[in-house]
């Protein structure tokens, strides 16, 4: 018992671990909450593309802001909003299939980002941080900003719950109810964009889609109603974040990847276990 407690408390003597844990839990929960819609609407590829297409913005922020985290965040947010609305517009009217158009743009944006970053001297380290996150480098200012944005995104999801649900389940009904459908579609894209940017420091660009999709997918297998799915997704994400971060502390492995791997293991266990709703589906 005492041993287990020591294992749990030992990492907490370091302030960076405490900050990292808070950041990981909050971003994990936030990603899972918004990710519920990503899973239900089949937007995983959109989420992945969005995360990657932020890279050139981050690179610019990095080069122009001299490595300041604030600059990175705001450049990232600006790019994400542009990319989200751009992809949204692209998917509405066009001769190319949506996933083709997204694929073209996101690989191009990613390449532009890598080219920009490669002009910097500390290219490898910087790129790694952007790609895979740097949760143990989270500062107090980052935490405050994270808290504010998490509260905002959470509030929007709760306040517009019924509208976001209707446009996701039955967009035609949304129109006949005379809701401003386009507005809410864009609101959802903006929510995903903001969430991705907020979570960037925890898992980075490359693994972001896992934070959006994996805990929500696990919860989808286990629940019957959307509020329950959301709550369970958030809980699973928070749990995966804590377990992953401890694993990364003791095994000395990359923290963002450890968090994602934990969430993946949880998903696989649930998917393969006979209790999941997926196996008993009518």
């Amino acid at each position: 018992m005492g041993e287990a407690l020591r294992v749990l408390l030992d990492p907490l003597q370091y302030a960076f671990m405490v900050r990292g844990l808070i950041a990981a839990v909050v971003t994990g929960g936030l990603c899972a909450l918004v990710g519920t819609y990503v899973v239900l609407r089949g937007m995983a590829f959109f989420g992945d593309a969005l995360a990657h297409s932020i890279l050139p913005g981050l690179a610019l922020g990095y080069l122009l802001g001299g490595g300041s985290r604030d600059a990175l965040f705001w450049w990232g947010l600006g790019t994400a909003i542009l990319a989200a609305l751009g992809i949204g517009a692209l998917s509405r009217g066009g001769r190319l299939k949506e996933d083709t158009a997204i694929g073209v743009l996101f690989a191009g944006a990613m390449a532009l980002g890598v080219v920009l970053i490669s002009t910097s001297r500390s290219y490898a380290v910087d790129l790694t941080h952007l790609l895979f996150g740097d949760v143990l480098g989270v500062g107090e200012g980052d935490l405050i900003r994270l808290g504010i944005f998490a509260a905002l995104i959470f509030a929007v999801v709760v306040l517009f719950y019924k509208e976001l649900l209707v446009i996701s389940f039955d967009p035609v009904l949304a129109v006949t109810l005379r809701l401003p459908t386009r507005l809410f579609e864009n609101l959802l894209l903006l929510l995903i964009a903001a969430t991705v940017v907020v979570a960037l420091q925890t898992v980075g660009v490359a693994l972001m889609v896992a934070m959006l999709v994996t805990p929500a997918a696990t919860a989808y297998l286990l629940t019957r109603r959307l509020p329950a799915m959301m709550a369970l997704a958030v809980a699973l994400a928070a749990l995966s974040s804590v377990v992953g971060l401890y694993a990364s502390y003791y095994a000395g492995v990359a923290s963002g990847a450890a968090i994602v791997l934990t969430a993946t293991v949880v998903f696989l266990v649930v998917r393969l276990a006979p209790i999941s709703r997926g196996s008993s589906r009518a």
Binding site: F169, V172, L173, V175, T176, L177, R178, L226, R281
Partner: protein, 277 residues
């Protein structure tokens, strides 16, 4: 808050007044629809009186779904106009559109009551949550379609007939006066179809106007006041026995309808029906 209530009261009274003005509930004038140069509807005009039940029949690709969606205000016609009680569909909350069953994600984590409650959202307003009145309306709507005991059932566990009845309940919760149904009978067995027809009979007594797309010509003839025969153009519109003439049917279906003479009358034994037409 009081101002909002007052405003809602004023606007609702305005809507009621318009509804009582004796105009046709649906008036379609010279509607044409083209997608990327392909003609889906061509110069369609007709009017429907309140309380009527209209069956829309025609081969696959005849534009049945397009027409329903234009009346619902979901699509805007390329030319022509639709008036609901004399105004554009966009100003009305009283129109319910029931999609084809294969256009719905039945694995969405929702219960029957959740879906029916969606019908209330238009009247609830932003930032509001369902109140006791909304729940009462949902309960009553489910009772009317005989699904009160299935309120908490996940939608993925419903049969085809139950899926349709749930959507009718949602239209009732929406307080719809105009019900647009896109092939509700496709893929349903006879008892389930009969169940839906029985509910539609109840709705008629409540004065709900129904426009229903179907492939079943016999049902169209036996359960509807008027039939609208469509193949991009409006071929015929009137009482079933006036519409179902060999000439009109051939004009609509070409060679795709089997007409069999039975006791001196021509009987259509099936059209090109299949899923998702």
């Amino acid at each position: 808050m009081a101002l909002v209530k007052l405003w809602q009261k004023v606007t609702l009274q305005e809507r009621d007044r318009v509804h009582l003005s004796g105009e046709p509930i649906v008036e379609v004038s010279r509607v044409s629809m083209r997608y990327d140069g392909v003609v889906a509807l061509e110069d369609v005009s007709f009017a429907v009186k309140a309380g009527e039940r209209i069956a829309i029949v025609g081969p696959n690709g005849a534009g049945k779904s397009t027409l329903l969606r234009i009346i619902a205000g979901v699509l805007t016609p390329t030319t022509g106009s639709v008036r609901i009680y004399g105004r554009g569909p966009g100003g009305h909350l009283c129109i319910a559109y029931i999609p084809q069953r294969n256009q719905v994600d039945w694995n969405f984590p929702l219960t029957v009551a959740d879906v029916v409650m969606m019908g209330r959202i238009g009247k609830m307003g932003l930032l509001r949550h369902p109140g006791p009145r909304d729940w009462a309306m949902v309960r009553r709507a489910l009772e009317q379609v005989g699904m009160a005991d299935l309120a908490d059932r996940p939608i993925r566990a419903l049969s085809g007939g139950q899926q349709q009845r749930m959507f009718i309940a949602r239209a009732l919760a929406q307080e719809a006066e105009l019900l647009l149904m896109d092939e509700p009978f496709t893929g349903l067995d006879r008892p389930a179809q009969e169940g839906i027809l029985e509910i539609l009979e109840h709705l008629r007594r409540q004065g709900v106007t129904i426009l229903l797309a179907t492939h079943d010509l016999e049902q169209a003839a036996s359960h509807f006041d008027r039939v609208l025969l469509l193949n991009r153009r409006l071929i015929a519109f009137g009482p079933p026995d006036a519409v179902f003439t060999p000439e009109a049917l051939r004009a609509a279906y070409g060679g795709h309808l089997r007409l069999v003479p039975v006791e001196g009358e021509l009987v259509a034994v099936g059209d090109t029906c299949c899923e998702g037409g």
